[in-house]
């Protein structure tokens, strides 16, 4: 897919890939073998009827293709951009064995963008059931769950702590990977289905779970993995050291890259080190370049093979000039006389035997300490579930890392309380959260119909 030139794009926040035009989309769709056993569908966490929507593209009926997509996903323009398709649908594509799989993700994006531009008809209004459901958190899990419940005829209100919808789609993923206008439009579609979003409500603080249950027939928690992890090394509270969450929220949601037109500031200097090598780390390192960093490092304690980010993200980062310091572990931050970080002390690592995760364990190589000059450090080593809901919901069972315990259907140990997405699984992907939201919607529908006649 054509993309913005790396040299140009590091000076702007515009989207990197341009997307297919109609002709290219049709040509790509025609490569699909329309396999009878549909392996791609098995690879999709929300079970999109992939061959069917692709078939409509070959026939030039993009609207029909969109209807097929929207049967299973409320956020196709988002999925078409941020899904790890290479591991999912495209990873199962029969053509992969012969070379290149069908560009399913790109085709999804093409159809979704087409319908966003063109404007779409809403599905037939369902018969109202008179049941009320509260959804907590307007991220991928909550939006999906809410949209599906609304399609079933339930009355749905989403309580959102922030002033904007989207959750990680809005605060986490950068504009150049997922334009916020796209998120906004897909959320508008969900609102048109009848879902109401009430902002500025922190459930557990502004209103309690008990109050919600008093008034609603069921509640779904999709509160995400919002709690940033830190390295827990010396000097980590110096000025100039941000969690990935703070850095990305300032830049993406609060639009600090447009400071001072927008009021939220960000300051990164010229040398920026990002710790971690997942998708969030790549987002941080690439965002730093766009904010004017001359050197943007990824510092990671394992080797290239273990980097958890998608290949596409790593490639994009490399093309843009991100410097990878692999097998390198930070041991302390060193500040200047004013308390700003000025260096990070690191040690070289080598890989030993496999650890519990199956990856080779990194081991420090003695006597290899060295320092890197930095103005800013971004800590992107993961997030854990936000503890606010578990802390304020009496009797709700949680697991070891603080995630809410649920079964396959998203049911918690308390009847009427459901959960899904990162709050239940720990930090994972947008599409898995959407899948969980979908399953929970079905399970909530079943619960309401059976238990509460």
């Amino acid at each position: 897919m054509p993309e913005q030139d790396p040299k140009k794009r590091i000076n702007n926040f515009d989207e990197v890939p341009f997307g297919y035009d109609e002709q290219t989309a049709i040509a790509e769709a025609k490569r699909c073998l329309q396999c009878k056993n549909r392996p791609c569908v098995d690879g999709c966490p929300v079970g999109i009827d992939i061959p069917d929507f692709i078939k409509e593209i070959t026939e030039g009926d993009f609207e029909k293709a969109a209807v097929i997509l929207k049967n299973k996903t409320n956020l196709p323009a988002v999925c078409g951009r941020v899904c790890p398709y290479e591991e999912q649908c495209e990873g199962k594509c029969t053509l992969l064995k012969l070379g290149e799989p069908v560009g399913i993700g790109r085709l999804e994006r093409f159809v979704a963008d087409y319908i966003l531009r063109k404007g779409e008809k809403l599905p037939k209004k369902p018969v109202p059931t008179g049941k009320k459901i509260a959804v907590v958190g307007a991220g991928p899990a909550g939006l999906t769950c809410a949209g599906d419940l609304a399609k079933m005829g339930h009355s749905v209100v989403i309580f959102e702590a922030f002033h904007a919808p989207g959750g990680v789609l809005m605060y986490g993923i950068p504009e150049f990977r997922l334009p916020k206008e796209i998120v906004r439009k897909e959320v508008e579609y969900i609102e048109k289905l009848g879902v109401k979003i009430q902002y500025d409500v922190v459930v557990g603080k502004t209103i309690s779970v008990e109050e919600i249950l008093d008034e609603y027939d069921a509640v779904f928690f999709g509160t995400g993995a919002g709690l940033p992890s830190f390295l827990n090394i010396d000097g980590e509270n110096l000025a100039g050291i941000y969690s990935a969450n703070e850095f990305l929220t300032r830049v993406n949601m609060m639009k600090a890259y447009k400071f001072p037109e927008y009021d939220t500031p960000i300051k990164i200097g010229k040398k920026v080190a990002t710790f971690g090598a997942g998708n969030v780390a790549m987002d941080c390192a690439r965002t730093a370049l766009r904010l004017g960093a001359e050197k943007s490092y990824i510092i990671y304690r394992r080797s290239e093979k273990e980097m958890p980010a998608r290949n596409e993200e790593i490639e994009h980062a490399r093309e843009e000039g991100v410097i990878f310091k692999l097998l390198t572990n930070p041991i302390r931050f060193i500040g200047d006389e004013k308390g700003n970080v000025k260096q990070v002390g690191c040690i070289e690592m080598k890989l030993g035997g496999p650890d519990t995760s199956g990856r080779r364990r990194p081991i420090p190589v003695e006597g290899t300490e060295f320092k890197i000059d930095i103005d800013t450090a971004l800590i992107a080593i993961g997030q854990s579930p936000n503890p606010l809901i578990p802390q304020t919901t009496k009797g709700l069972e949680v697991e070891r890392w603080g995630n809410i315990k649920t079964d396959e259907q998203g049911r918690t140990n308390i009847p009427g309380i459901f959960a899904g997405g990162d709050i239940a699984t720990g930090a994972a992907t947008v599409i898995l959260a959407m899948g969980a939201g979908k399953r929970a919607a079905r399970s909530i529908d079943k619960y309401i119909k059976s238990n509460k006649q």
Partner: protein, 285 residues
Amino acid sequence: MVPQKIKVSFCMYEILEKKVLSDAVKLMKIKAPLVAKKAQPGQFIILRIDKKGERIPLTIADYDRKKGTITIIFMEVGKTTKQLGLMKEGDKILNFVGPLGIPSEIENYGTVVCIGGGVGIAPLYPIIRALKQAGNHVVTILGARNEELLMLEKEIDEISDEKHICTDDGSKGTKGFVSDVLQKLIDDKIKIDIVWAIGPVIMMKVVADLTRKYNIRTIVSLNPIMVDGTGMCGGCRVTVGGKTKFACVDGPEFDGHQVDFENLMLRNSRFVDEEKHSCKISGVE
């Protein structure tokens, strides 16, 4: 279908009342029924004035559950507080979320000394009231740079058993700092069970340093830079007892003897240049 009991305004948050307490200090009563219903002493809110605004935390100076209002008192120090100071009764704030943070631990301690410095007097007020209601003997020390910057004197006088006033320039009360008054109380052998100190970071540090010597438990309320206020960004992290804590969800009140105030001051000055620039170009300087 709009829910019945949990009435959330889909509209903005109206400024019902505004008072100019001094040149740079304003009081506002904001219509925010859900926040007012749950607000407790020691908690804070986060507001955002408009679409391009930043999110800033402000401690709750008072609340009226019946009228559904939250009182905020703020000093105009940066772009947002200056812009807020220019707003009038009837104007609306775009976002107003809370109550956030853990409420003050109110119980009957015996004799409590409540120390408020400058605009820190505001959040202290509901705490004093709650401590008094819990049966404490409440001694208050209010301090400010000058008389003009003192506030809520009358209100606090009504609920305190003893009240001391001091100003840096001597324009009202004793000339000197709140810590001087506190030292005198200690020298006079008044038995103090706990101290609450809210004000500028340096004031809280000085008070904590003093009470540490006498082993008097001291609660301070920290005001670091925040973005979300729900534990998500970690921007408000402070070092307490050698451990990292988030002021938004673990605080904002902490054991003053454990707080690394130097680190807090450094972290609070992270965006000083940007703040100045923002004030300058937006003309609220």
